[in-house]
């Protein structure tokens, strides 16, 4: 009986876990190479809109998942190129791309959504059956473990970390900083693209304007709170997934104690956690040191600097 209940809990939380974890994993990968990933929410929202639009024309969830992931991955490559080849502020370009992403998302998907409603099109998303959900769950964890091995056991991982800590030193050691960053951001954004696709394909199953906005930031917060570590991210994603899944249960529990929180607070809970949990993690000195960001994160890497 207990196993059955536990199983149900896992299944119900899995889809949420999957889209949170994959995006945070992608974010971690990008930021480990030193790029401050402020475009994440725009990419996320765009990914959701993209997969929706594609789904209406290409009726296969897996195919749309792959195409969207690839396209978003290319967006990452663009960001890597701009921030590394040109002395551009990471934050500035990230924010700008975020807004373009929001605009493009509405632009692309809104007309399609009207069409869907008018013609009562049935979207071929993934069925929420245990087999499918579990497959993605296991895949995500496997991807996470591979990411861990890649980052901490291989030369490529050492190169990515070197570029994030000290790109000048990495360059002096013989690394092509641009190449490494392109690899890291491509992989990272492919993950973000797949997360946003699964957000729709596995969870919401439908689209409305603004869908996905904010979830990129939640994944960003997860990545931050886990020190951008692939394995620790699993734990943090579970915490957030629980919060999102069981928020309404929490509401009921609190009513039992005489505290009534409205639906609005319930909606706000994951966002509040996204501010609160990084706060807690950063406030504890041991965690703060272990989870410290790469030293050169967000700093402009440009070789022609003055010397004194």
């Amino acid at each position: 009986m207990m196993i059955g209940e536990a199983f149900n809990v896992i299944i119900s939380m899995s889809s949420i876990f999957v889209f949170l974890y994959l995006a945070s994993l992608g974010n971690s990968l990008v930021e480990k190479s030193g790029i401050l990933n402020l475009a994440i929410d725009g990419a996320y929202t765009l990914g959701v809109a993209l997969v929706f639009t594609l789904l209406v024309f290409v009726n296969d969830p897996t195919l749309t998942l792959l195409i969207t992931s690839l396209l978003i991955g290319l967006l990452g490559v663009l960001i890597a190129f701009l921030t590394t080849k040109l002395p551009i502020s990471h934050g500035a370009i990230g924010l700008s791309i975020q807004f373009v992403g929001y605009g493009l998302a509405s632009f692309l998907a809104y007309p399609v959504s009207l069409k869907v409603r008018a013609e009562r099109i049935n979207l071929n998303t993934y069925p929420t059956i245990p087999e499918v959900v579990l497959t993605f769950l296991i895949l995500s964890v496997l991807i996470g473990v591979s990411a861990y091995l890649l980052i901490y056991r291989t030369k490529l991982g050492a190169a990515i970390r070197a570029v994030g800590e000290n790109p000048a030193g990495a360059s002096a050691l013989g690394i092509n900083v641009l190449k490494i960053r392109i690899i890291a951001t491509f992989l990272g954004y492919v993950l973000i693209g797949s997360a946003s696709s699964l957000f729709l394909l596995l969870y919401t199953k439908n689209w409305q304007e603004g869908l996905g906005m904010g979830y990129g930031w939640i994944s960003f917060a997860i990545s931050l709170s886990s020190g951008r570590h692939p394995l620790v991210g699993i734990v943090t994603s579970v915490i957030f997934a629980t919060l999102i899944r069981y928020a309404y249960v929490l509401q009921d529990i609190l009513i039992g104690y005489g505290i009534s929180i409205s639906t609005f607070i319930v909606i706000a809970l994951p966002f509040i956690a996204a501010v609160f949990i990084p706060l807690v993690v950063t406030a504890i000195p041991q965690l703060r040191r272990r989870f410290a960001p790469p030293k050169h994160l967000g700093k402009i890497f440009f070789s022609e600097e003055r010397s004194v």
């Binding site: 401050l36 402020l38 929410d41 701009l82 080849k85 040109l86 002395p87 551009i88 502020s89 934050g91 500035a92 370009i93 990230g94 924010l95 700008s96 791309i97 975020q98 807004f99 373009v100 992403g101 929001y102 605009g103 493009l104 509405s106 632009f107 809104y110 007309p111 009207l114 409305q208 304007e209 603004g210 906005m213 904010g214 930031w217 939640i218 960003f220 917060a221 931050l224 409205s262 609005f264 607070i265 909606i267 706000a268 966002f271 509040i272 996204a274 501010v275 990084p278 706060l279 950063t282 406030a283 703060r288 440009f302 022609e304």
Partner: protein, 399 residues
């Protein structure tokens, strides 16, 4: 053949003017192309955008963007990215609304029979003339004092909300872009909660929908005739603009706020606690945003607080994000803010004119307000960020 980017030996002032101008043109050109791809005729796009420059509505956005532009520039100059102006404005609206509805005036039920007595009583206004449970609003203080309190409390609320990410940044070095942005979403929902429960109105409309009562119209700001902008908004814009410029130029605090943007460690090493200046910069920024929020609320066209249905179109009209454009195009130089506030306001108004034209002429094209604002803003921003480097760097071709 390779492209090398090299730091300039001499920085050219020509670029300080040319780059923002070029960014606007290029960004608009890009947007025209994007919209043309689904069938929006480019000449319609351009003519509506240009119409924005002459529309009387634009003045309103101009005043708001001026205030917000100064607010954001203050924090950006301190190297703190305040992307939370939306949330700070929301809190300004909440605080201002609270004062307007419960402190400076108060709504109450009266019996239907007495309703006519209140029709002409000074300081009393009929909010809801429903036959069952009519509602009146009674002024509890001098309306000028009431308006002043609204603004002051709005500024305080905005400033305090901004302090949260400020403390996180100053003492824990938590990235402020993420925290300010996420707090916007929290603010929207808290707003909804407060409006639906604590601030909920008494009138029938308020009961039925999730909103407050209408404010007592004595507390509304006064429209400048022929426009949609109020006297108070314009006054606030001028006062904030001038006083902040004076602060930067003539006070030690202002100088430190400037320097913390380029080198916080310098402040630390000369014995100034730079964390306090982080807090100050954000607090000031939030205060001004809060004031902008109050102006939005107290505009006669609004006068009440309503639940936000979709975070894509909040009552703050995403001006908190649009203002980023104003601030950046001004190259963080306060003197240029009025110019770019006007230009961006015109673009903003232009895009809403465009939307109504499209709905009229091309109903089959479905373009939302979000697409029409974010795409031009985003395009201009992206072009600007890239072109910006040319003020300090040049590109050379090496064989």
């Amino acid at each position: 053949m390779r492209l090398i980017v090299v730091k300039r030996v001499r920085t050219s002032n020509l670029y300080y003017v040319g780059i923002p101008a070029l960014s606007i043109l290029a960004g608009l050109a890009l947007s025209t192309l994007i919209f043309a791809s689904i069938g929006v005729p480019p000449d319609l796009f351009i003519s509506e955008i240009l119409a924005g420059f002459q529309s009387p509505q634009t003045l309103r956005y101009f005043a708001l963007l001026l205030i917000l532009g100064v607010a954001l520039t203050m924090s950006f100059r301190a190297s703190i990215w305040n992307i939370g102006a939306e949330g700070q404005m929301i809190w300004g609206m909440i605080a201002g609304g609270y004062i307007a509805l419960f402190v400076a005036a108060q709504s109450m039920y009266v019996s239907p029979s007495e309703l006519s007595n209140y029709a002409n009583m000074p300081g009393v206004e009929i909010i809801d003339a429903s036959p069952v449970k009519p509602v009146i609003s009674i002024l509890l203080m001098d309306p000028s004092l009431g308006k002043l309190l609204m603004v002051l409390f709005g500024m305080l609320a905005g400033g305090l909300w901004a302090l949260i990410p400020a403390v996180l940044k100053a003492y824990l070095d938590i990235d402020e872009v993420a925290s300010t942005l996420i707090l916007n979403y929290v603010a929207y929902q808290l707003f909804n909660h407060l409006v639906s429960y604590n601030l909920r109105g008494l009138s029938v409309q308020a009961r039925q929908f999730f909103r407050t009562d209408r404010m007592n119209s004595a507390l509304l700001f006064n429209l400048i005739p022929g426009t949609s902008v109020t006297v108070q908004e314009v006054l606030m814009a001028i006062i904030f603009f001038v006083s902040i410029i004076l602060m930067y130029r003539y006070t030690a605090v202002g100088l430190r706020l400037k320097i913390i943007g380029s080198n916080p460690q310098l402040l630390r090493s000369v014995g100034v606690d730079e964390r306090r200046y982080v807090l100050l910069a954000m607090f000031l920024s939030g205060m001004l945003a809060g004031a902008a929020g109050v102006s939005i609320l107290a505009n006669p066209g609004i006068g009440k607080l309503e639940k936000i249905a979709n975070v894509v179109s909040p009552p703050t009209m995403n001006l908190g994000y649009t203002a980023i454009l104003v601030s950046w195009l001004s190259m963080l130089d306060l003197r240029f803010i009025p110019i770019y506030a006007y230009i961006v306001a015109s673009l903003f108004q232009g895009s809403s004119l465009l939307q109504s034209e499209i709905n009229l002429l091309f109903p089959e094209l479905s373009l939302t307000g979000a697409a029409l604002t974010y795409i031009p803003i985003g395009s201009i921003l992206v072009v600007y960020v890239i072109l910006r480097i040319f003020t300090e760097y040049s590109v050379r071709i090496m064989r």
